[in-house]
Point group: C2
Chain length 354, copies 2
């Protein structure tokens, strides 16, 4: 049988390494930044009501969800495109805008899907080092050439939880030519409490060449449902509706996500728990002598003396799954999601005996 | 504000035109080949049980669903990849195998997504005419050149409901060089009753370069949930796991689809209704003097004297939505999905007074 050769670009693509799921009951998973309260009960109810209509194709345009989001964000539905998770929107950005040979600037040691979608569409990856485990906006802007088409930024950054501020983003945008598309992945934005966190949607309102990515996977506890969205000026969004798969967002996702937006109690509880979890983790990590990064997300980046892969195995034996950051390029760091108080305590107790 | 140029290939992509959804109660939709019985109750139950766990990311590999499918098809899980609808798998095939400049052979006037995914990855479309509204396998094989990478076939064909037989497919495969990847989209295969319908999975078992695409959208009534799959030899499937988005199939889709496979009553009822619907439609269309194609799917291709777009509007006024085939390249034909007996009768009565 003849082999069917795969594309050259595909040869360079590595396997995506997800967080490990528990295989035994009682094991605590703090590896994938999932909401410890589960999905909003309003989402679960909306999904139950929609499940009997699953024979019908989804609305191609996610109209109701986009209208609900537009109301919350103070933009129009024409500013929004929904996807099967925000990774779907990353792929759609690439399929719409990245030509073979276009340069795409990405930070090293961060979320790996920017690299994947760039490679899929033949873009040339330009990788920029982090600076003190945070995005180096000056270096990212400095990497721009005449061939630069897209820059991917992550704010708060994954896996470090650091942010760039409104002033830093403004300075960056001044340096970057206007014909470069800046994609800001704000998967964790709803957790950010720092008043200097940028209001990137304002750039969209001003008609700048910025696409903001958000997701229902983290804050809203709907990682399993797959809903993310992009926000940008209508001229950037419209062609993306032609390149996305027509029925990319399933019916239950459209219904469940819209319902989550109305659950103020769930949102307040999530934010309160995350803040309290940070305080507990910081205090106890200090006592244990671990160095960590202050976070604006729902996870904490913790430096380890032992190799992270060893710490991972030891913690797993004690019933706690965290993410060793070896595959992100940090062989001596782990990322722990902020859980319920009980989960956080279980993690801390396990870490103390490592 | 500078414009961000879209890719050259994207300029040629047309909007996907979906079936129209009813906006008023009592309107019958026979436009998108949806199962008139809705989803299987077993799927709805499985979805309800899974909805409370939506904070957890889906299994990247859809392991349980692939195992269930493998058991039904008599292949191994390593022969199967699941997608967010089979259109997702079409995109993954293109992203894995189609290099810019590769020739991709597609029939004219059929499902439009083969064209979309080919354009997205810079493939060169080679379009082949239908012959008497059916795929022309001889002409498709005759279009092969040294640059041909992929051929997309649809069996049963959409929108004509025609099939190519096992003997015709065998003859086609003999003519087509072994280093050409043949993708057979069998979205409607479960409805095919003709004993000459090919067993394409046998080609997979023999290790040939064939990818069979199936979906839960039609027969299983889960169009709104988004689950499709590809079946091929493991060497063809493995690289596709690297190019797909990691969490492409949502948790509810994995659970709901697996449950549907166990609902023998639902499957029997769906098949029985479809057969009876065909008989009714054939008999009444004969009486009304309409020409149509005998179908192996869950829809009937009906030729119209008036322009299809006019027939569409007249039927819609009478509360029945069908698909005018103008956008498929048949300005004088409609496609009507087979519904419940009541829905079929409502369509026939509306058509009689057109």
């Amino acid at each position: 049988m003849s082999d069917i050769p795969i594309r050259k670009e595909v040869e360079a693509i590595k396997d995506y390494i997800p967080g490990k799921n528990p295989t035994e009951p009682g094991v605590v998973k703090l590896a994938s930044n999932e909401n410890p309260f589960g999905p909003s009960p309003k989402s679960v109810k909306a999904i139950g009501e929609e499940a009997g209509r699953l024979q019908i194709y989804p609305d191609q345009k996610s109209t109701r969800l986009r209208e609900a989001l537009a109301g919350k964000l103070g933009v129009g539905p024409e500013n929004i495109i929904c996807g099967n998770g925000s990774d779907d929107i990353m792929q759609v950005i690439a399929s719409t805008y990245i030509e073979p040979g276009d340069e795409v600037i990405v930070s090293k040691n961060t979320f790996s899907l920017y690299e994947l979608v760039t490679r899929l569409f033949g873009g040339k990856l330009v990788l920029v080092d982090l600076k003190e485990a945070a995005l180096d906006l000056a270096a990212l802007a400095g990497a721009v050439t005449k061939k630069t088409k897209v820059i991917f930024l992550t704010n708060p950054n994954n896996p470090t939880g650091t942010i760039f501020t409104a002033a830093e983003f403004a300075a960056f945008k001044k340096k970057v030519p206007d014909n470069v598309l800046v994609v800001v992945d704000e998967a964790y934005a709803e957790f950010a409490e720092n008043p200097d966190f940028p209001n990137s949607i304002n750039y969209v309102k001003e008609g700048r060449n910025v696409i903001v990515l958000r997701t229902f996977s983290k804050f809203f506890g709907l990682a399993g449902l797959r809903v993310g969205y992009g926000v940008a000026r209508p001229e950037l969004i419209a062609p993306m509706f032609r390149t996305k798969m027509p029925f990319n967002v399933n019916r239950l996702a459209q219904a469940g996500a819209a319902a989550a937006l109305d659950d103020d109690d769930f949102m307040a509880k999530t934010l309160q728990n995350n803040g309290a979890g940070k305080d507990l983790l910081y205090a106890e990590l200090d006592k244990l002598g671990y160095k960590y990064k202050k976070t604006e997300a729902n996870f904490v980046f913790v430096s380890t003396v032992k190799p992270a892969d060893e710490v991972f195995l030891e913690l797993m034996k004690k019933g706690v799954i965290i993410r060793p950051l070896t595959s992100f390029g940090f062989p001596n760091a782990i990322r722990v999601s902020i859980g319920t108080p009980e989960q956080n305590k279980k993690f801390l107790a396990a870490l103390a005996s490592c």
